[in-house]
């Protein structure tokens, strides 16, 4: 069967297909057995039945089904194999398998191993020994010759390495191992990338007597590799290369990751048609760029697509220098104060211990700062000067600020960006006509080009630059009159920047503006870290220990056992120095796989006179079809059974039951749907009692506790209504309808005051309800307890009425502060009316409130103050009874004694309570006003 990748293990069984016609003949003869039914109206049926020909044999499709079933079983018995494996037989007396396991093999390593396995299996079938060599392994690795089984074990233990292949060494060893064989065949499983020394390597491998060459290379090399990652001024730039054999246009994304592996930025790299190199920029803020620890191309799980970053891309170290004595008493006058404040968030500040510049400058340079800020340093001492110049030339950024010392020191051609005029210029002083100058728009050439010019900054003194041809291009910021405010220029690798004002706010208010911070940030961004922990610098003796390695799959891993410390001067990535970070917690050096100018060149098959078999990497895809065929036959058998049942009428007789089943299934599905729909409905944020809550808080309302006793509740409601009407009449406060609250369920926090008539007959509130009241009081609400039993108290001092007893029970579960009767100077007595006593229907019971601590100068203050309002008030005077009015506005209950003024006093007390509730101690401040006015002498 050449048109199908199909072969049979036992083709003779296929002769069984000849039996199919016999089976067909047999099947045609045996109709299915009918169902017997008793049927009395047979005579009527007989008149109908005469019209139909009764079928005496199976329908054709059932026969076909059965024939198919028989054919399938015959095929299955013939042991068919789909996609049979082609044999890449080695023809010699040994086979050498050379497998590349460099960094580019990681993504499809499984396929490579599968291909090698097939070769080994074939060799095992031929009974010849196997030499198995991996090209990116230490030279000491055993390569054979092995028996096939041992070779398989070695192969399965092998893994891709994050290093380039070393073909010369490996091929040389294979050649040695093959020396004893007459005509071994060689299988090269290449990664497709050319490497150094390929020609000699292949010459050694294929040079001697070889029977044939099996060449397996990937058809397409899609690996990408990062060759550079640089922190530029305007972004973080990565460069990727790809193989020259991959000309199609392609766009990939790269991600930048911080130390913990979190992705913090993305960049897109686009390869044009035929281009082998692409660059991409991470345009993210400078601070974020400092957090980059590694950069990786998405979808490339191999070491070449990952690049680790070291200190070079990190937070800058900035040295601060000042000649002024540190004045600890007046830090605001210290020249470095504002610089320090401005730069602390984004730079590591380094300050010398000595104020003597001759010592301080070398001290700073030892720390290898990226930038040195000199605040008003006049002359740099000669001993330190050359070191400083060298540092700038090597890439340091020197930022200087003007000042009286600089102005007096004279020009310095190297350490100043522009030549200066001696002396300084004062603007807007007492003896000058000029005005203090503002800052003009920043020149487009400077680094501050995209900053908005600070309108609030004025400069009163500055040092002036000598006008010359270069001044304009070196000017980074100018004043309104065109004189430069900031100048800067490059010196070798580094740069020198001069602020023409002092770093403190004496010459201008620039240092205390936000723009100053932005400017310093830009300058810091321009600087490059000098502090690379070079191997030849600090570490003594041996190299840097491995710290974090890039695994073969592009993931940062702890160093493997065979990783050696990075010796000074070693630039090449090898199996001993795999790519990754070397160093320790205090600093690391990145050791990356590819250098800046690396190329990925496709590996060409070496020219050789040997017979060559070319193959491709592939999995062993042979499939035994016996199982599927049997399964198919079984499925057909099930179909056949169903068909026979259907012809016997098994399904048609229960149409109703089927309908019921369908309905039940639909019902179940509907119920499930309903269940899943139930959650979204609940997830909506509208609550059922939203409307009530909105009503409760849209206007101020006085609340009372519903005790459950209808007469008490009616009086409470009428009382609150009466007080509400009185408030509307007499004050600016217009409360809404009184609200009855159930303390067990209703939200209490909507109401400033809750009136709670104690009803001894009502049920004791549950602990949960009391806890809610407690929370309400803690949250700033006030509960007014009214026992309404002033005249019910017995004459016995120890006795308590049931209402009082109930109140005690309730208060026993609440956090009640220390209480006192309202003192005469309490703000409650003055909140709106002057109310010495709080009457209700009864008189005589004091109103208990939270005790206000008496202050020492209480005597000369008209009122005692305390923060907040009392969370609790207790009275026995039946306030609601006195306030209660009926529908026509007439009082409902008589006062005791029946004095009309008592009712007015009671209402005034209620007004005071409400005012106190709503204004708090503001009212106590108000009562100070006369005293304050008096003190002002009016």
């Amino acid at each position: 069967m050449s048109w199908l990748p199909l072969s049979f293990g036992a083709p003779l069984v296929l002769a069984g297909l000849l039996a199919l016609p016999l089976i067909w003949w047999l099947l045609r003869l045996t109709p299915p057995k009918p169902q017997t039914e008793t049927f009395p109206p047979l005579k009527i049926l007989a008149r109908v039945l005469r019209k139909e020909e009764t079928p005496h044999s199976s329908p054709w499709w059932l026969t076909l089904l059965r024939l198919l079933m028989a054919a399938l079983i015959i095929f299955a018995l013939a042991d068919p194999v789909f996609n049979p494996r082609e044999r890449m037989s080695a023809s010699g007396d040994a086979v050498a398998i050379v497998l590349d396991n460099g960094w580019s093999t990681a993504p499809d390593w499984e396929r490579r191993v599968a291909t090698a396995e097939r070769l080994i299996t074939d060799a095992s079938a031929a009974g010849i020994p196997v030499v198995l060599a991996l090209t990116a392994e230490p030279p000491s690795t055993e390569i054979g010759p092995f028996e096939a089984q041992a070779a398989l074990d070695h192969l399965r233990a092998a893994a891709p390495r994050p290093v380039p292949v070393d073909r010369p060494t490996a091929f040389g060893r294979v050649a040695e191992a093959l020396a004893g064989f007459a005509a071994p065949s060689v299988a090269v499983l290449a990664d497709g990338l050319a490497a150094e020394g390929d020609e000699q390597a292949f010459a050694a491998l294929l040079g001697n007597a070889r029977s044939n060459l099996i060449w397996i290379a990937p058809e397409q090399i899609t690996s990408l590799a990062l060759t550079a990652a640089d922190n530029e001024v305007d972004g973080f730039r990565v460069t990727a290369v790809r193989s020259s054999a991959d000309p199609a246009p392609r766009t990939v994304t790269a991600g930048a990751f911080d130390e913990r592996g979190r992705r913090i930025a993305d960049a897109t790299l686009g390869f044009g048609p035929g281009e082998t190199m692409a660059t991409g920029d991470f345009t993210v803020p400078f601070e974020l760029r400092n957090d980059f620890a590694s950069v990786a191309i998405d979808g490339e799980p191999q070491a070449g697509a990952v690049r680790v970053l070291d200190e070079n891309a990190k937070r800058r170290r900035v040295g601060l220098l000042s000649q002024a004595e540190a004045d600890q008493a007046q830090p605001l006058l210290s020249p470095l104060f504002y610089i320090r404040k401005a730069m602390q968030p984004f730079a590591d500040l380094v300050e010398p211990t000595s104020a003597d510049l001759a010592q301080a400058i070398p001290q700073l340079l030892e720390q290898r700062p990226a930038m040195i800020v000199m605040a008003d340093v006049g002359v740099v001492p000669d001993g330190a000067r050359q070191a400083l110049i060298d540092w700038v030339e090597q890439g340091g950024t020197l930022v200087r600020f003007a000042g009286s010392r600089l102005a007096a020191a004279g020009n310095d051609e190297v350490l100043l960006p522009v030549p200066l005029r001696l002396g300084e210029r004062a603007l807007g002083g007492a003896l000058s006509w000029t005005e203090p100058q503002t800052v003009r728009e920043f020149p487009a050439t400077g680094p501050f080009a995209d900053l908005a010019p600070p309108s609030e900054v004025t400069v009163t003194r500055q040092v002036l630059a000598e006008p010359n041809a270069e001044l304009a291009e070196r000017t980074w910021a100018t004043l309104a009159d065109g004189t430069p405010l900031i100048t800067g220029t490059r010196r070798g690798e580094g740069s020198v920047v001069l602020f023409h004002v002092t770093p403190e706010a004496t010459w201008s208010n620039l240092p205390i503006s936000g723009t100053f911070v932005e400017m310093l940030r830009r300058v810091v961004q321009l600087s490059r870290n000098q502090g690379r922990l070079d191997a030849n610098a600090e570490t003594s003796g041996g190299g840097l220990p491995p710290f974090r390695m890039i695994g073969a799959d592009g993931v940062l891993v702890p160093p493997p056992a065979d990783a050696r410390p990075l010796e000074p001067g070693v630039a090449r990535v090898s199996i001993e120095n795999p790519p990754g970070l070397y160093g320790g917690d205090e600093g690391v050096v990145a050791h990356n796989l590819l250098n800046k100018d690396a190329q990925l060149v496709a590996l060409a098959r070496p020219e050789t006179g040997l017979p060559v078999t070319e193959a491709s990497y592939a999995f062993d895809q042979a499939r035994d079809l016996r199982g599927p065929l049997f399964a198919l036959a079984a499925l057909l058998m099930v179909l056949d059974t169903l068909a026979v049942l259907w012809m016997g009428g098994a399904f048609a007789r229960r149409p109703r039951r089927t309908g019921v089943a369908v309905a039940a299934a639909a019902l179940v599905a509907f119920a499930f749907g309903l269940a899943t729909f139930a959650n979204p409905t609940q997830a909506q944020d509208s609550q059922p009692d939203d409307q009530a809550a909105i009503e409760a808080i849209s206007t101020t309302r006085i609340a009372y506790v519903i005790t459950g006793n209808s007469s008490v509740d009616a009086i409470s409601r009428a009382g609150m209504t009466g007080l509400t009407q009185f408030l509307i009449d007499k004050t600016a406060l217009e409360p809404g309808e009184p609200a009855g609250v159930d303390i067990a369920t209703d939200e209490l926090s909507f109401y400033p005051l809750i009136y709670w008539p104690i009803d001894p007959d009502a049920a004791m509130p549950s602990p949960e309800a009391i806890a809610r009241v407690d929370a309400y009081m803690q949250g700033g609400g006030t509960v007014l307890f009214d026992t309404r039993d002033q005249y019910s108290t017995g004459f016995d001092m120890g006795s308590a009425t049931p209402a009082t007893q109930r109140l005690r029970d309730i208060l026993g579960n609440l956090n009640v502060p220390a209480l006192e009767p309202v003192p005469a100077d309490h703000v409650l007595t003055k909140a709106f009316f002057i109310v010495p006593e709080f009457y209700g229907r009864f008189t005589g019971s004091p109103l208990w409130v939270e005790a206000v601590p008496t202050s020492t100068e209480a005597a000369d203050r008209p009122v005692r103050t305390g923060d907040g309002v009392t969370p609790i008030m207790i009275t026995a005077n039946d306030l609601a009874g006195a306030w209660a009015v009926d529908a026509s506005g007439e009082p409902m209950l008589p006062t005791v004694p029946a004095d009309p003024m008592q009712r007015v006093y009671a209402l005034r007390g209620g007004v005071n309570i409400m005012m106190y509730m709503l204004t708090g101690n503001y009212k106590s401040d108000q009562v100070h006003v006369p005293v304050l006015l008096e003190r002002l002498g009016q």
Partner: protein, 305 residues
């Protein structure tokens, strides 16, 4: 796999009697419309709501010439100037013949039905017997009993049925049936209409009013068979095999219903009633219908009304 229909064992007449009584208890006393039966007057004990021979007082009417003097009610006549005759209410019994088909086809019971046709027929018959004897009518079973009046008429009928010779029930013997009596025939009427009309012809010619009750099994009417099915006639043992029974259903139903319609319209022309009772429905339904048919005048041959 079990079939849809089965042949049920014949029901014992005692059981049928018990069930018949429960059915009959649901139906009010039956007054057979008997205005035409002047000649077959035998005293019964239900008033006919008209003047006649009986025991109960009906009305006083003035004496007219020709009345027998002995019928004068002197007590009434003494109260005024006139002479009155006391009329009595006419109390008469009527003969109703009852017959239920007992042929093998009646033993059929399908899955959808609650009882076999034979059982339903017997229950209906005995329930009618119970009702009629409660009303004092004369009931009889053609070929088995003469008409008789008895309070326990249904019980007696059941007893007679229990001892009746087997196989006597495929066709009734109408020799004793005379004019102006009612005949209630309970059967499945599965013969062709012509055959049925032929054996009912004597009744028609004798002017007997007949009430036909067709007992039908739901499976016979709806034909729920599908697939390859072999049908067997319980009476003749004949067999028929249908390849795909479901294809026959529509034609069969048409024929079946046409037979019923023809028979029913023929019966209506004779002034007879035709009632269909399905065995998956309640027997009481048929009982109520036949009650209505018996107590009203069908309109034909009722010149005396």
């Amino acid at each position: 796999m079990a079939g849809i229909g089965e042949v049920a064992p014949p029901v014992a007449s005692r059981d049928a009697l018990a069930r018949a009584r429960t059915r009959a208890a649901l139906v009010p006393d039956l007054l057979v419309e008997a205005r035409r039966v002047v000649n077959t007057v035998i005293s019964g004990w239900h008033g006919r709501r008209r003047r006649g021979v009986g025991e109960n007082f009906w009305q006083f009417r003035p004496f007219v010439e020709g009345d027998a003097v002995s019928r004068i009610d002197w007590r009434r006549s003494a109260r005024d100037e006139h002479t009155y005759i006391r009329d009595r209410e006419w109390e008469a019994a009527h003969t109703v013949w009852l017959w239920a088909d007992a042929s093998p086809s009646m033993l059929y019971k399908s899955k959808g039905a609650t009882v076999s046709k034979e059982s339903r027929a017997l229950v209906l018959t005995l329930a009618l017997a119970e009702l009629l004897s409660r009303s004092g009518e004369r009931i009889g079973w053609p070929g088995l009993t003469d008409p008789f009046t008895a309070r326990n008429g249904a019980e007696r009928l059941a007893t007679r049925l229990a001892y009746a010779p087997a196989g006597s029930g495929s066709r009734p013997d109408f020799i004793g049936v005379r004019r102006f009596s009612d005949v209630i025939l309970v059967s499945d009427f599965l013969d062709t209409p012509d055959e049925a009309m032929q054996w009912l012809d004597p009744l028609m010619r004798r002017g007997v009013r007949a009430h036909l009750i067709e007992i039908a099994d739901p499976a016979e009417e709806s034909f729920p068979y599908a697939g390859r099915t072999e049908f067997q006639d319980p009476e003749s043992g004949e067999r028929l095999t249908a390849g795909r029974a479901e294809t026959l259903a529509a034609d069969y139903r048409n024929l079946y219903l046409a037979r019923r319609a023809e028979l029913a319209s023929w019966a209506k022309r004779q002034g007879w009633s035709y009632t269909v009772n399905h065995t998956d429905r309640l027997a009481s339904e048929a009982l109520v219908k036949i009650h209505l048919a018996l107590s009203t005048d069908a309109g034909l041959g009722s010149a005396g009304a």
